[in-house]
Protein backbone atom coordinates (compact mmCIF):
# COMPACT_ATOMS: atom_id res chain seq x y z
CA UNK A 1 0.00 0.00 0.00
CA UNK A 2 1.22 3.45 -0.83
CA UNK A 3 0.61 5.98 1.93
CA UNK A 4 2.64 8.83 0.56
CA UNK A 5 3.02 9.12 -3.20
CA UNK A 6 4.46 12.53 -3.77
CA UNK A 7 5.70 15.11 -1.31
CA UNK A 8 8.27 17.75 -2.12
CA UNK A 9 8.57 20.04 0.85
CA UNK A 10 11.24 22.29 2.17
CA UNK A 11 10.67 23.72 5.59
CA UNK A 12 12.68 26.68 6.74
CA UNK A 13 14.46 27.01 10.09
CA UNK A 14 12.28 28.48 12.83
CA UNK A 15 9.13 28.06 10.77
CA UNK A 16 5.77 26.85 12.10
CA UNK A 17 4.71 24.48 9.34
CA UNK A 18 1.50 22.45 9.18
CA UNK A 19 0.73 19.26 7.26
CA UNK A 20 -3.01 19.39 6.76
CA UNK A 21 -5.28 16.76 5.30
CA UNK A 22 -8.13 14.33 6.00
CA UNK A 23 -7.39 11.10 7.85
CA UNK A 24 -5.61 8.59 5.67
CA UNK A 25 -4.04 11.23 3.42
CA UNK A 26 -0.50 10.19 4.38
CA UNK A 27 0.42 13.11 6.58
CA UNK A 28 1.26 10.95 9.60
CA UNK A 29 3.33 8.60 7.46
CA UNK A 30 5.24 11.61 6.18
CA UNK A 31 5.84 12.73 9.77
CA UNK A 32 7.10 9.25 10.69
CA UNK A 33 9.54 9.39 7.79
CA UNK A 34 10.92 12.63 9.14
CA UNK A 35 11.11 11.20 12.67
CA UNK A 36 12.77 8.03 11.36
CA UNK A 37 10.08 5.45 12.18
CA UNK A 38 9.31 4.84 8.51
CA UNK A 39 11.77 4.53 5.67
CA UNK A 40 10.81 6.10 2.34
CA UNK A 41 10.89 3.45 -0.41
CA UNK A 42 11.96 6.22 -2.75
CA UNK A 43 13.17 9.75 -2.18
CA UNK A 44 15.17 11.29 0.63
CA UNK A 45 14.76 13.12 3.91
CA UNK A 46 17.25 15.93 4.39
CA UNK A 47 17.92 17.52 7.74
CA UNK A 48 20.12 20.63 7.65
CA UNK A 49 21.11 19.54 4.15
CA UNK A 50 22.27 16.09 5.32
CA UNK A 51 20.53 12.97 4.02
CA UNK A 52 19.11 11.21 7.11
CA UNK A 53 16.93 8.68 5.26
CA UNK A 54 18.94 5.79 6.75
CA UNK A 55 19.61 7.32 10.18
CA UNK A 56 17.66 5.59 12.97
CA UNK A 57 15.33 7.74 15.11
CA UNK A 58 17.62 7.72 18.16
CA UNK A 59 20.36 9.37 16.12
CA UNK A 60 18.18 12.05 14.50
CA UNK A 61 18.11 15.49 15.98
CA UNK A 62 14.33 15.79 15.73
CA UNK A 63 11.80 15.09 18.48
CA UNK A 64 8.15 14.15 18.41
CA UNK A 65 5.13 15.06 20.52
CA UNK A 66 2.98 11.96 20.12
CA UNK A 67 -0.76 12.04 19.62
CA UNK A 68 -1.52 10.39 22.99
CA UNK A 69 1.69 11.97 24.38
CA UNK A 70 3.32 8.57 25.18
CA UNK A 71 4.61 9.80 28.54
CA UNK A 72 6.47 7.12 30.52
CA UNK A 73 3.98 6.11 33.24
CA UNK A 74 6.66 4.77 35.59
CA UNK A 75 8.63 8.04 35.66
CA UNK A 76 7.90 11.39 37.28
CA UNK A 77 7.38 14.50 35.17
CA UNK A 78 10.99 15.57 35.78
CA UNK A 79 12.35 12.12 34.89
CA UNK A 80 10.23 12.05 31.75
CA UNK A 81 11.74 15.34 30.66
CA UNK A 82 15.24 14.22 31.68
CA UNK A 83 14.95 11.04 29.58
CA UNK A 84 16.34 12.62 26.40
CA UNK A 85 19.34 14.39 28.00
CA UNK A 86 20.15 11.24 30.01
CA UNK A 87 20.06 9.10 26.86
CA UNK A 88 22.55 11.52 25.33
CA UNK A 89 24.73 11.20 28.46
CA UNK A 90 24.90 14.92 29.26
CA UNK A 91 26.54 15.97 32.57
CA UNK A 92 24.13 15.78 35.54
CA UNK A 93 24.29 19.51 36.30
CA UNK A 94 23.39 20.40 32.73
CA UNK A 95 20.52 17.89 32.72
CA UNK A 96 19.05 19.48 35.85
CA UNK A 97 19.36 22.96 34.38
CA UNK A 98 17.82 21.97 31.06
CA UNK A 99 14.95 20.08 32.67
CA UNK A 100 14.00 22.99 34.90
CA UNK A 101 14.28 25.42 31.97
CA UNK A 102 12.08 23.23 29.78
CA UNK A 103 9.48 22.83 32.54
CA UNK A 104 9.48 26.60 33.02
CA UNK A 105 8.81 27.19 29.32
CA UNK A 106 5.67 25.05 29.51
CA UNK A 107 4.82 26.34 33.03
CA UNK A 108 4.94 22.91 34.64
CA UNK A 109 7.80 23.49 37.12
CA UNK A 110 5.60 23.02 40.17
CA UNK A 111 4.39 19.58 39.16
CA UNK A 112 7.84 18.14 38.41
CA UNK A 113 7.50 15.36 41.00
CA UNK A 114 4.11 14.09 39.81
CA UNK A 115 3.40 10.97 37.84
CA UNK A 116 1.83 11.47 34.38
CA UNK A 117 -1.30 9.58 35.49
CA UNK A 118 -1.98 12.36 38.00
CA UNK A 119 -1.98 15.13 35.40
CA UNK A 120 -4.83 16.51 33.32
CA UNK A 121 -4.79 16.13 29.55
CA UNK A 122 -3.52 19.67 29.04
CA UNK A 123 -0.77 19.19 31.63
CA UNK A 124 0.27 15.92 30.00
CA UNK A 125 0.57 17.72 26.70
CA UNK A 126 2.80 20.36 28.26
CA UNK A 127 5.06 17.66 29.70
CA UNK A 128 5.25 15.94 26.31
CA UNK A 129 6.22 19.28 24.82
CA UNK A 130 8.89 19.91 27.47
CA UNK A 131 10.25 16.38 27.05
CA UNK A 132 10.80 17.08 23.34
CA UNK A 133 11.99 20.69 23.65
CA UNK A 134 14.60 19.89 26.31
CA UNK A 135 16.72 18.21 23.62
CA UNK A 136 16.89 21.44 21.58
CA UNK A 137 15.92 19.55 18.41
CA UNK A 138 16.41 20.97 14.92
CA UNK A 139 12.72 20.34 14.38
CA UNK A 140 9.84 19.48 16.66
CA UNK A 141 7.21 17.16 15.18
CA UNK A 142 3.68 17.35 16.56
CA UNK A 143 1.30 14.52 15.64
CA UNK A 144 -2.29 15.77 16.09
CA UNK A 145 -1.31 17.25 19.46
CA UNK A 146 -4.77 18.66 20.21
CA UNK A 147 -6.76 15.54 19.35
CA UNK A 148 -6.96 14.35 22.96
CA UNK A 149 -8.02 17.74 24.40
CA UNK A 150 -11.52 19.12 24.74
CA UNK A 151 -12.57 22.06 22.59
CA UNK A 152 -12.03 24.89 25.07
CA UNK A 153 -8.58 23.70 26.12
CA UNK A 154 -7.69 23.12 22.50
CA UNK A 155 -8.15 26.77 21.62
CA UNK A 156 -6.06 27.92 24.59
CA UNK A 157 -3.29 25.43 23.76
CA UNK A 158 -3.18 26.56 20.12
CA UNK A 159 -2.21 30.05 21.19
CA UNK A 160 0.11 28.68 23.89
CA UNK A 161 1.87 26.47 21.35
CA UNK A 162 2.33 29.44 19.04
CA UNK A 163 3.82 31.47 21.93
CA UNK A 164 6.22 28.66 22.85
CA UNK A 165 7.32 28.29 19.25
CA UNK A 166 8.08 32.02 19.05
CA UNK A 167 9.95 31.89 22.37
CA UNK A 168 12.20 28.93 21.56
CA UNK A 169 12.60 29.64 17.83
CA UNK A 170 12.62 25.93 16.95
CA UNK A 171 11.06 24.69 13.70
CA UNK A 172 7.63 23.18 14.47
CA UNK A 173 6.06 20.68 12.09
CA UNK A 174 2.41 20.13 12.95
CA UNK A 175 0.28 17.31 11.58
CA UNK A 176 -3.45 17.97 11.78
CA UNK A 177 -6.75 17.26 10.08
CA UNK A 178 -8.26 20.39 11.63
CA UNK A 179 -8.07 23.26 9.14
CA UNK A 180 -8.87 25.83 11.84
CA UNK A 181 -5.91 24.65 13.86
CA UNK A 182 -3.58 24.89 10.87
CA UNK A 183 -4.86 28.35 9.90
CA UNK A 184 -4.48 29.62 13.48
CA UNK A 185 -0.98 28.36 14.19
CA UNK A 186 0.99 27.78 11.03
CA UNK A 187 3.18 30.18 9.07
CA UNK A 188 2.83 27.89 6.08
CA UNK A 189 0.57 24.94 5.32
CA UNK A 190 0.94 21.92 3.06
CA UNK A 191 -2.44 20.44 2.14
CA UNK A 192 -2.31 16.70 1.48
CA UNK A 193 -4.80 14.34 -0.13
CA UNK A 194 -4.44 10.70 -1.18
CA UNK A 195 -0.72 10.70 -0.46
CA UNK A 196 0.00 13.78 -2.55
CA UNK A 197 0.84 17.30 -1.42
CA UNK A 198 -1.69 19.39 -3.35
CA UNK A 199 -0.60 22.86 -2.29
CA UNK A 200 1.98 24.57 -0.11
CA UNK A 201 1.46 28.16 0.94
CA UNK A 202 0.61 30.66 3.63
CA UNK A 203 -2.82 30.28 5.26
CA UNK A 204 -4.03 33.26 3.22
CA UNK A 205 -2.78 31.92 -0.12
CA UNK A 206 -4.37 28.56 0.55
CA UNK A 207 -7.66 30.12 1.54
CA UNK A 208 -7.88 32.77 -1.20
CA UNK A 209 -6.12 31.02 -4.06
CA UNK A 210 -6.54 27.25 -3.60
CA UNK A 211 -4.64 25.14 -6.11
CA UNK A 212 -7.34 22.52 -6.50
CA UNK A 213 -10.99 21.74 -5.88
CA UNK A 214 -9.95 19.59 -2.96
CA UNK A 215 -8.06 22.42 -1.25
CA UNK A 216 -10.93 24.84 -1.90
CA UNK A 217 -13.43 22.50 -0.29
CA UNK A 218 -11.20 21.40 2.57
CA UNK A 219 -10.23 24.86 3.82
CA UNK A 220 -13.15 26.89 5.05
CA UNK A 221 -16.43 26.60 3.21
CA UNK A 222 -16.75 27.32 -0.49
CA UNK A 223 -19.47 27.63 -3.10
CA UNK A 224 -18.31 25.60 -6.06
CA UNK A 225 -20.15 26.39 -9.31
CA UNK A 226 -19.37 24.19 -12.34
CA UNK A 227 -18.98 25.70 -15.79
CA UNK A 228 -16.86 25.83 -18.94
CA UNK A 229 -14.16 28.29 -19.95
CA UNK A 230 -15.34 30.08 -23.08
CA UNK A 231 -12.79 32.84 -23.39
CA UNK A 232 -9.74 34.42 -21.83
CA UNK A 233 -9.41 38.12 -21.10
CA UNK A 234 -5.97 38.93 -19.77
CA UNK A 235 -5.68 37.50 -16.24
CA UNK A 236 -9.33 36.61 -16.13
CA UNK A 237 -11.23 33.75 -17.67
CA UNK A 238 -14.75 34.09 -18.99
CA UNK A 239 -16.84 31.18 -17.75
CA UNK A 240 -20.19 29.91 -18.95
CA UNK A 241 -21.74 28.53 -15.73
CA UNK A 242 -23.94 25.46 -15.95
CA UNK A 243 -26.49 27.58 -14.10
CA UNK A 244 -26.73 29.89 -17.14
CA UNK A 245 -24.82 33.05 -16.25
CA UNK A 246 -21.60 34.06 -17.94
CA UNK A 247 -19.08 35.37 -15.38
CA UNK A 248 -15.43 36.38 -15.06
CA UNK A 249 -13.06 34.64 -12.65
CA UNK A 250 -9.41 35.20 -11.72
CA UNK A 251 -6.73 32.50 -11.62
CA UNK A 252 -6.79 29.09 -13.22
CA UNK A 253 -4.44 30.13 -16.04
CA UNK A 254 -3.74 26.42 -16.69
CA UNK A 255 -7.37 25.82 -17.63
CA UNK A 256 -7.77 26.09 -21.41
CA UNK A 257 -10.75 27.37 -23.38
CA UNK A 258 -13.64 24.83 -23.67
CA UNK A 259 -12.34 22.91 -20.65
CA UNK A 260 -14.57 22.15 -17.66
CA UNK A 261 -13.93 24.37 -14.70
CA UNK A 262 -15.34 25.46 -11.36
CA UNK A 263 -15.84 28.97 -10.04
CA UNK A 264 -15.15 29.19 -6.31
CA UNK A 265 -16.97 31.83 -4.25
CA UNK A 266 -16.34 32.17 -0.50
CA UNK A 267 -19.67 32.73 1.33
CA UNK A 268 -18.46 35.85 3.15
CA UNK A 269 -17.79 37.64 -0.14
CA UNK A 270 -21.30 37.17 -1.51
CA UNK A 271 -24.29 39.51 -1.21
CA UNK A 272 -27.95 38.73 -1.73
CA UNK A 273 -29.56 41.60 -3.70
CA UNK A 274 -32.93 42.32 -5.33
CA UNK A 275 -31.58 43.61 -8.68
CA UNK A 276 -28.57 42.46 -10.71
CA UNK A 277 -25.57 44.82 -10.40
CA UNK A 278 -24.40 46.54 -13.60
CA UNK A 279 -20.98 44.80 -13.68
CA UNK A 280 -22.61 41.41 -14.25
CA UNK A 281 -20.85 39.71 -11.30
CA UNK A 282 -23.93 37.79 -10.21
CA UNK A 283 -26.10 34.74 -10.70
CA UNK A 284 -29.85 34.34 -10.39
CA UNK A 285 -31.07 32.05 -7.64
CA UNK A 286 -34.10 31.09 -5.58
CA UNK A 287 -33.94 31.32 -1.79
CA UNK A 288 -34.51 27.97 -0.10
CA UNK A 289 -33.78 28.76 3.51
CA UNK A 290 -32.78 31.54 5.91
CA UNK A 291 -31.39 30.33 9.23
CA UNK A 292 -30.97 32.75 12.13
CA UNK A 293 -27.54 32.27 13.74
CA UNK A 294 -27.26 35.26 16.06
CA UNK A 295 -25.35 38.22 14.63
CA UNK A 296 -25.65 36.81 11.14
CA UNK A 297 -28.08 34.56 9.31
CA UNK A 298 -27.22 31.82 6.88
CA UNK A 299 -28.95 32.19 3.55
CA UNK A 300 -29.22 29.20 1.29
CA UNK A 301 -30.29 29.51 -2.33
CA UNK A 302 -30.47 27.21 -5.31
CA UNK A 303 -29.31 28.06 -8.86
CA UNK A 304 -30.99 27.09 -12.11
CA UNK A 305 -28.79 23.95 -12.46
CA UNK A 306 -29.63 22.78 -8.94
CA UNK A 307 -26.34 23.86 -7.34
CA UNK A 308 -26.85 25.36 -3.91
CA UNK A 309 -25.16 28.53 -2.74
CA UNK A 310 -24.63 29.71 0.81
CA UNK A 311 -23.94 33.21 2.09
CA UNK A 312 -24.19 35.14 5.32
CA UNK A 313 -26.48 38.14 5.81
CA UNK A 314 -26.73 40.48 8.76
CA UNK A 315 -29.62 39.43 10.96
CA UNK A 316 -30.72 42.96 11.93
CA UNK A 317 -30.67 44.25 8.34
CA UNK A 318 -32.69 41.55 6.73
CA UNK A 319 -34.55 43.03 3.74
CA UNK A 320 -38.16 41.97 3.29
CA UNK A 321 -37.58 40.17 -0.03
CA UNK A 322 -35.23 37.64 1.55
CA UNK A 323 -37.86 34.98 2.10
CA UNK A 324 -37.78 31.29 1.15
CA UNK A 325 -39.20 30.77 -2.34
CA UNK A 326 -38.33 34.30 -3.50
CA UNK A 327 -35.98 34.99 -6.45
CA UNK A 328 -32.72 36.69 -5.54
CA UNK A 329 -29.49 37.79 -7.17
CA UNK A 330 -26.29 36.48 -5.64
CA UNK A 331 -23.64 39.13 -6.37
CA UNK A 332 -19.97 39.47 -5.51
CA UNK A 333 -17.24 42.08 -5.47
CA UNK A 334 -14.46 42.15 -8.11
CA UNK A 335 -11.76 39.54 -7.46
CA UNK A 336 -14.00 37.28 -5.37
CA UNK A 337 -14.51 34.65 -8.06
CA UNK A 338 -11.61 32.22 -8.39
CA UNK A 339 -11.22 29.63 -11.15
CA UNK A 340 -10.34 26.00 -10.53
CA UNK A 341 -9.85 23.13 -12.96
CA UNK A 342 -12.41 20.34 -13.21
CA UNK A 343 -15.91 19.85 -11.90
CA UNK A 344 -16.82 19.13 -8.30
CA UNK A 345 -18.33 15.73 -7.46
CA UNK A 346 -21.29 17.59 -6.02
CA UNK A 347 -21.95 21.07 -7.30
CA UNK A 348 -22.60 23.89 -4.89
CA UNK A 349 -21.61 24.51 -1.31
CA UNK A 350 -19.03 22.46 0.40
CA UNK A 351 -17.71 22.93 3.86
CA UNK A 352 -16.94 19.31 4.51
CA UNK A 353 -14.46 17.05 2.82
CA UNK A 354 -16.83 14.17 2.34
CA UNK A 355 -18.66 15.97 -0.41
CA UNK A 356 -15.74 17.11 -2.51
CA UNK A 357 -13.30 14.96 -4.35
CA UNK A 358 -10.35 16.16 -6.28
CA UNK A 359 -10.70 15.43 -9.99
CA UNK A 360 -8.59 12.47 -11.06
Amino acid sequence: MVAVREAHLSIGGGEFFALLGPSGCGKTTLLKMIAGFERPSRGRVLLDGVDVSDVPPWKRNVNTVFQQYALFPHLSVADNVAFGPRSRKLPAAEIDQRVSDALDIVRMGELAARRPSHLSGGQQQRVALARALVNLPRALLLDEPMAALDLKLREAMQLELKRIQRDVGITFLLVTHDQGEALTMADRIAVMNHGVVEQVGTPEQIYQRPASLFVAGFIGSANLLPGTVVDRDGEDAVVQLCAGARVRAAGGSHVGVTEPCTVMLRPERLRAVADPPADGRCVAATITQVVFQGASSRLEAVLADGASVVTQIESHHRPAFLQPGQPVWIAWEPGAAFLLAGWPAIAGTSGDVGRVEAPR
Partner: protein, 273 residues
Protein backbone atom coordinates in the same frame (compact mmCIF):
# COMPACT_ATOMS: atom_id res chain seq x y z
CA UNK B 1 -40.62 -4.46 49.47
CA UNK B 2 -42.77 -6.84 51.47
CA UNK B 3 -41.56 -8.43 54.72
CA UNK B 4 -41.62 -11.80 53.10
CA UNK B 5 -39.14 -11.00 50.33
CA UNK B 6 -36.96 -9.12 52.84
CA UNK B 7 -36.60 -12.33 54.85
CA UNK B 8 -35.92 -14.24 51.66
CA UNK B 9 -33.19 -11.76 50.69
CA UNK B 10 -31.61 -12.01 54.15
CA UNK B 11 -31.73 -15.81 54.06
CA UNK B 12 -30.17 -15.75 50.60
CA UNK B 13 -27.34 -13.58 51.88
CA UNK B 14 -26.75 -15.95 54.79
CA UNK B 15 -26.73 -18.94 52.47
CA UNK B 16 -24.23 -17.24 50.21
CA UNK B 17 -21.95 -16.40 53.13
CA UNK B 18 -22.17 -19.94 54.45
CA UNK B 19 -21.37 -21.31 51.01
CA UNK B 20 -18.35 -19.02 50.73
CA UNK B 21 -17.15 -20.02 54.21
CA UNK B 22 -17.47 -23.72 53.37
CA UNK B 23 -15.61 -23.18 50.11
CA UNK B 24 -12.75 -21.45 51.90
CA UNK B 25 -12.66 -24.12 54.59
CA UNK B 26 -12.46 -26.80 51.90
CA UNK B 27 -9.52 -24.97 50.30
CA UNK B 28 -7.60 -24.23 53.48
CA UNK B 29 -8.29 -27.20 55.75
CA UNK B 30 -5.50 -29.37 54.28
CA UNK B 31 -3.04 -26.52 54.62
CA UNK B 32 -4.11 -25.94 58.21
CA UNK B 33 -3.56 -29.63 58.95
CA UNK B 34 -0.04 -29.49 57.52
CA UNK B 35 0.85 -26.43 59.59
CA UNK B 36 -0.70 -27.92 62.75
CA UNK B 37 1.07 -31.25 62.40
CA UNK B 38 4.42 -29.54 62.10
CA UNK B 39 3.97 -28.91 65.85
CA UNK B 40 2.99 -32.52 66.63
CA UNK B 41 5.01 -35.06 68.58
CA UNK B 42 4.49 -38.20 66.48
CA UNK B 43 4.24 -41.60 68.12
CA UNK B 44 5.72 -43.83 65.45
CA UNK B 45 7.02 -43.42 61.90
CA UNK B 46 3.88 -41.69 60.67
CA UNK B 47 3.03 -38.14 61.68
CA UNK B 48 -0.69 -38.60 61.12
CA UNK B 49 -2.20 -38.79 64.59
CA UNK B 50 -2.26 -35.82 66.95
CA UNK B 51 -0.39 -36.62 70.17
CA UNK B 52 1.10 -33.59 71.78
CA UNK B 53 2.29 -30.06 70.97
CA UNK B 54 6.05 -29.64 70.56
CA UNK B 55 8.57 -27.24 69.05
CA UNK B 56 11.11 -30.01 68.65
CA UNK B 57 10.42 -30.44 64.91
CA UNK B 58 10.94 -26.75 64.30
CA UNK B 59 14.19 -26.81 66.32
CA UNK B 60 15.54 -29.54 64.05
CA UNK B 61 13.99 -28.91 60.63
CA UNK B 62 16.90 -30.54 58.82
CA UNK B 63 17.09 -33.63 61.07
CA UNK B 64 16.00 -35.87 58.21
CA UNK B 65 19.13 -35.96 56.08
CA UNK B 66 17.59 -37.47 52.94
CA UNK B 67 14.68 -35.02 53.01
CA UNK B 68 17.03 -32.04 53.40
CA UNK B 69 19.22 -33.22 50.53
CA UNK B 70 16.14 -33.65 48.33
CA UNK B 71 14.92 -30.17 49.18
CA UNK B 72 18.30 -28.75 48.26
CA UNK B 73 18.20 -30.57 44.89
CA UNK B 74 14.70 -29.22 44.23
CA UNK B 75 15.73 -25.66 45.06
CA UNK B 76 18.73 -25.79 42.74
CA UNK B 77 16.66 -27.21 39.88
CA UNK B 78 13.89 -24.65 40.49
CA UNK B 79 16.33 -21.72 40.56
CA UNK B 80 18.09 -22.67 37.35
CA UNK B 81 14.98 -23.70 35.39
CA UNK B 82 13.10 -20.58 36.53
CA UNK B 83 15.94 -18.31 35.43
CA UNK B 84 16.18 -19.90 31.99
CA UNK B 85 12.43 -20.19 31.39
CA UNK B 86 11.75 -16.62 32.57
CA UNK B 87 14.31 -15.12 30.21
CA UNK B 88 13.32 -17.28 27.21
CA UNK B 89 9.58 -17.07 27.92
CA UNK B 90 9.70 -13.28 28.21
CA UNK B 91 11.53 -13.07 24.90
CA UNK B 92 8.91 -15.30 23.25
CA UNK B 93 6.10 -13.16 24.69
CA UNK B 94 7.67 -9.92 23.47
CA UNK B 95 8.30 -11.34 19.99
CA UNK B 96 4.71 -12.59 19.75
CA UNK B 97 3.25 -9.31 20.98
CA UNK B 98 5.35 -6.95 18.95
CA UNK B 99 5.75 -8.65 15.59
CA UNK B 100 3.57 -10.42 13.06
CA UNK B 101 5.84 -12.93 11.40
CA UNK B 102 5.19 -16.05 9.32
CA UNK B 103 4.13 -18.71 11.80
CA UNK B 104 3.43 -16.35 14.70
CA UNK B 105 -0.19 -17.48 14.74
CA UNK B 106 0.92 -21.10 14.98
CA UNK B 107 3.37 -20.29 17.78
CA UNK B 108 0.61 -18.49 19.66
CA UNK B 109 -1.53 -21.60 19.42
CA UNK B 110 1.21 -24.16 20.15
CA UNK B 111 2.19 -22.20 23.23
CA UNK B 112 -0.70 -23.63 25.22
CA UNK B 113 0.04 -27.20 24.17
CA UNK B 114 2.56 -28.01 26.95
CA UNK B 115 0.10 -26.55 29.48
CA UNK B 116 -2.86 -28.60 28.28
CA UNK B 117 -1.05 -31.87 27.51
CA UNK B 118 -1.39 -34.37 30.38
CA UNK B 119 1.79 -34.45 32.43
CA UNK B 120 1.99 -38.21 32.10
CA UNK B 121 2.27 -37.79 28.33
CA UNK B 122 4.89 -35.05 28.54
CA UNK B 123 6.87 -36.97 31.16
CA UNK B 124 6.90 -40.29 29.35
CA UNK B 125 7.65 -38.84 25.92
CA UNK B 126 10.51 -36.81 27.34
CA UNK B 127 11.87 -39.94 29.03
CA UNK B 128 11.67 -41.80 25.73
CA UNK B 129 13.54 -38.98 24.05
CA UNK B 130 16.26 -38.90 26.71
CA UNK B 131 16.59 -42.70 26.51
CA UNK B 132 17.28 -42.50 22.81
CA UNK B 133 20.54 -40.60 23.21
CA UNK B 134 23.86 -41.10 24.91
CA UNK B 135 24.95 -37.55 25.59
CA UNK B 136 23.28 -36.71 28.90
CA UNK B 137 22.45 -39.12 31.71
CA UNK B 138 19.19 -38.97 33.65
CA UNK B 139 19.56 -36.65 36.62
CA UNK B 140 19.67 -32.95 37.44
CA UNK B 141 20.17 -31.95 33.80
CA UNK B 142 17.25 -33.94 32.40
CA UNK B 143 14.95 -32.78 35.21
CA UNK B 144 15.96 -29.15 34.61
CA UNK B 145 15.36 -29.46 30.85
CA UNK B 146 11.96 -31.05 31.49
CA UNK B 147 10.96 -28.30 33.93
CA UNK B 148 12.03 -25.53 31.55
CA UNK B 149 9.84 -27.17 28.91
CA UNK B 150 6.58 -26.67 30.79
CA UNK B 151 7.61 -23.47 32.62
CA UNK B 152 8.36 -21.80 29.29
CA UNK B 153 4.73 -21.90 28.21
CA UNK B 154 3.48 -20.54 31.53
CA UNK B 155 5.95 -17.65 31.48
CA UNK B 156 5.23 -16.77 27.85
CA UNK B 157 1.46 -16.85 28.40
CA UNK B 158 1.59 -14.71 31.57
CA UNK B 159 3.99 -12.11 30.15
CA UNK B 160 2.06 -11.99 26.88
CA UNK B 161 -1.10 -11.18 28.85
CA UNK B 162 0.76 -8.35 30.57
CA UNK B 163 1.97 -7.06 27.19
CA UNK B 164 -1.49 -7.12 25.67
CA UNK B 165 -2.23 -3.57 26.85
CA UNK B 166 1.34 -2.35 26.55
CA UNK B 167 1.58 0.91 24.63
CA UNK B 168 4.29 0.31 22.05
CA UNK B 169 4.47 4.01 21.17
CA UNK B 170 6.33 4.34 24.50
CA UNK B 171 9.20 2.50 22.83
CA UNK B 172 8.97 4.85 19.86
CA UNK B 173 9.01 7.79 22.27
CA UNK B 174 12.16 6.48 23.97
CA UNK B 175 13.91 5.98 20.63
CA UNK B 176 12.76 9.39 19.52
CA UNK B 177 14.43 10.81 22.64
CA UNK B 178 17.76 9.27 21.70
CA UNK B 179 17.65 5.85 23.37
CA UNK B 180 18.94 2.98 21.20
CA UNK B 181 16.88 -0.27 21.27
CA UNK B 182 18.71 -1.91 24.21
CA UNK B 183 18.51 1.19 26.37
CA UNK B 184 14.85 1.57 25.39
CA UNK B 185 14.18 -1.98 26.56
CA UNK B 186 16.04 -1.59 29.85
CA UNK B 187 14.67 1.83 30.82
CA UNK B 188 11.12 1.70 29.47
CA UNK B 189 9.83 -1.73 28.42
CA UNK B 190 11.39 -3.87 31.15
CA UNK B 191 10.38 -1.70 34.15
CA UNK B 192 6.82 -1.57 32.87
CA UNK B 193 6.39 -5.31 32.32
CA UNK B 194 8.51 -6.35 35.35
CA UNK B 195 5.48 -7.12 37.58
CA UNK B 196 4.26 -9.60 34.97
CA UNK B 197 7.71 -11.15 34.61
CA UNK B 198 8.10 -11.50 38.39
CA UNK B 199 4.67 -13.08 38.71
CA UNK B 200 5.59 -15.52 35.93
CA UNK B 201 8.91 -16.32 37.64
CA UNK B 202 7.20 -16.97 40.98
CA UNK B 203 4.73 -19.30 39.35
CA UNK B 204 7.38 -21.23 37.45
CA UNK B 205 9.47 -21.58 40.60
CA UNK B 206 6.47 -23.02 42.41
CA UNK B 207 5.67 -25.33 39.49
CA UNK B 208 9.22 -26.66 39.50
CA UNK B 209 9.39 -27.26 43.28
CA UNK B 210 6.01 -28.91 43.09
CA UNK B 211 6.33 -31.12 40.03
CA UNK B 212 6.12 -34.85 40.54
CA UNK B 213 4.94 -36.74 37.44
CA UNK B 214 7.26 -35.28 34.79
CA UNK B 215 10.17 -35.32 37.26
CA UNK B 216 9.46 -38.95 38.19
CA UNK B 217 9.96 -40.05 34.57
CA UNK B 218 13.16 -38.12 34.01
CA UNK B 219 14.94 -38.20 37.38
CA UNK B 220 17.09 -41.29 37.07
CA UNK B 221 18.63 -41.75 40.51
CA UNK B 222 18.26 -38.09 41.47
CA UNK B 223 15.73 -37.45 44.23
CA UNK B 224 13.79 -34.20 44.43
CA UNK B 225 11.69 -33.05 47.38
CA UNK B 226 8.36 -34.46 46.11
CA UNK B 227 10.02 -37.73 45.00
CA UNK B 228 11.60 -38.13 48.43
CA UNK B 229 8.32 -37.59 50.26
CA UNK B 230 6.51 -39.99 47.94
CA UNK B 231 9.19 -42.65 48.28
CA UNK B 232 9.43 -42.33 52.03
CA UNK B 233 5.71 -42.14 52.70
CA UNK B 234 5.35 -45.87 52.38
CA UNK B 235 7.64 -46.49 55.34
CA UNK B 236 7.53 -43.25 57.32
CA UNK B 237 6.41 -39.63 57.26
CA UNK B 238 8.75 -37.67 59.50
CA UNK B 239 7.40 -34.42 61.04
CA UNK B 240 10.10 -32.53 59.10
CA UNK B 241 7.93 -32.99 55.99
CA UNK B 242 5.34 -30.79 57.65
CA UNK B 243 7.92 -28.31 58.89
CA UNK B 244 9.56 -27.86 55.47
CA UNK B 245 6.19 -27.77 53.72
CA UNK B 246 5.11 -25.00 56.11
CA UNK B 247 8.34 -23.09 55.42
CA UNK B 248 7.76 -23.35 51.66
CA UNK B 249 4.19 -22.16 52.21
CA UNK B 250 5.31 -19.20 54.31
CA UNK B 251 7.97 -18.21 51.78
CA UNK B 252 5.45 -18.32 48.88
CA UNK B 253 2.85 -16.33 50.80
CA UNK B 254 5.56 -13.90 51.91
CA UNK B 255 6.68 -13.36 48.30
CA UNK B 256 3.09 -12.87 47.23
CA UNK B 257 2.46 -10.27 49.94
CA UNK B 258 5.74 -8.50 49.19
CA UNK B 259 4.85 -8.41 45.50
CA UNK B 260 1.43 -6.96 46.22
CA UNK B 261 2.86 -4.29 48.55
CA UNK B 262 5.53 -3.32 46.00
CA UNK B 263 2.97 -3.07 43.23
CA UNK B 264 0.72 -0.97 45.47
CA UNK B 265 3.52 1.38 46.43
CA UNK B 266 4.54 1.78 42.80
CA UNK B 267 1.08 3.04 41.97
CA UNK B 268 0.79 5.39 44.91
CA UNK B 269 0.14 8.98 43.83
CA UNK B 270 2.71 11.77 43.95
CA UNK B 271 5.67 9.72 44.94
CA UNK B 272 8.82 11.84 44.87
CA UNK B 273 11.77 9.97 43.44
Amino acid sequence: MSGHSLIAARAGRWALNLYAALGLAYLFAPIAVIVAFSFNQPSGHFNIEWRQFTLANWQAPFADRALTDALWVSLRIAALSTLVSTVLGTMIAIALSRYRFPGSGAVNLLLVLPVTTPEIVVGSSLAAMFLGQNVIDFGMVTITIAHILFQLSFVAIIVRARLRDFDWTLEQAAQDLGAPPLRTFLTVTLPLILPGILAAALLSFALSIDDFIITFFNAGSTVTFPLQIFGASRVRIPPQVHVLATVILLVSVGLLVAGTILEHRRRRPNRVD
